[in-house]
Assembly symmetry: C3
Homo-oligomer: 143 residues x 3
């Protein structure tokens, strides 16, 4: 008789950012998958905030990450006459940069490993100037 072992497991990653920038979380996510014992399935990484976001990124060249960060500074500038500015000049741009990037990333799991390409890493993209504690959920579905 066949009993399938499909299951779902939730894990948390808490990180403290040091202000604007990209923070790689690939290893932390893989560690949660290792711990879950899931060999084949899918992982969804979800960030519970509206002033930071997630993105895949080239993870070998720090210069590439700097270029991405500078691009967003220019595309969504701090001084652009926003109506919503209660929390300072970096607040509204942070919401827009979040909308332009991603709140969740989903990656296939095969043989217990995320199937990232050679240069792919998962990053938290902090859009606020000040350090912030950030909560990330990792949901693993598989067998």
């Amino acid at each position: 008789m066949l009993i399938l072992a499909m299951r779902v497991q939730h894990e948390k990653i808490d990180i403290r950012t040091n202000g604007k920038g990209t923070y790689e979380i690939t290893d932390e996510v893989q560690n949660k998958i290792d711990k879950s014992g899931v060999r084949s399935g899918m992982v969804t990484v979800f960030v519970q905030h509206t002033s930071c976001s997630l993105t895949m990124m080239e993870n070998a060249a720090p210069a590439a990450r700097g270029d991405v960060e500078r691009f967003f500074e220019k595309l969504v500038p701090e001084n652009a006459d926003y109506e919503h500015d209660d929390e300072g000049p970096d607040d509204m741009p942070s919401h827009i940069r979040m909308v332009l990037t991603r709140t969740s990333e989903t990656v296939p799991i095969v043989d217990g490993k995320m199937q990232l390409g050679t240069w792919q890493g998962i990053f938290l993209f902090e859009h606020r100037r000040a350090p912030h504690p950030r909560k990330i959920l990792v949901t693993i579905i598989g067998e």
Copy 2:
């Protein structure tokens, strides 16, 4: 003997927009999860159109939503000499704004509730001027 109750369930949300703007659907999605009885899993919200999109957004400050909408009006203007203009000046910008945002959003479910952060809401982002009926699918996977 362990029999796992992992299952998948599909629901529909139909909404009629009143033209350009952001429309919160968080409660409608949670209602579908309540109805499904799924306690632990994941929900994917998917919009079946190419001239509107989905996004997470700051759901407390209406001014913030207005700023996001104005940003996209400026970033992807109506008068930009598009080749594809059969359906009016707001048509091609709507396809580009869709590409820059999201067609689906995925959120973890724990204890029967979407694990949104304090300020996170799920929004339909209507990019056309005229009112449109919009179809959204809600797929719930879990146990």
Copy 3:
């Protein structure tokens, strides 16, 4: 006694691009779902690269696709004084265009078919000038 048949299946799509542009992969993804036998569930399409991306797109009007491509050429220009330029002028813009679009797309499956809207197609968005072999993973979860 109820034995649920929820399962996960992984498939691969390899395509060779002819340089910059959008390449529809909707039929290839549906073929993998047909082969899997899954009738109800969800498919996640994932691209294993950081210099190309995925997007949903209007699939009827080629002019619309051309407009999207021209928009990104202008929004993320090749000559913008990037720090990371080891691989040529089209390399850094390709990473930024990837961040602005999507690495994965998730679509509900009902009655064995992806529930795309009338005009929705799934496209690989190649951001490099030169032809490239590109690896796409298709993960199907369902019953």
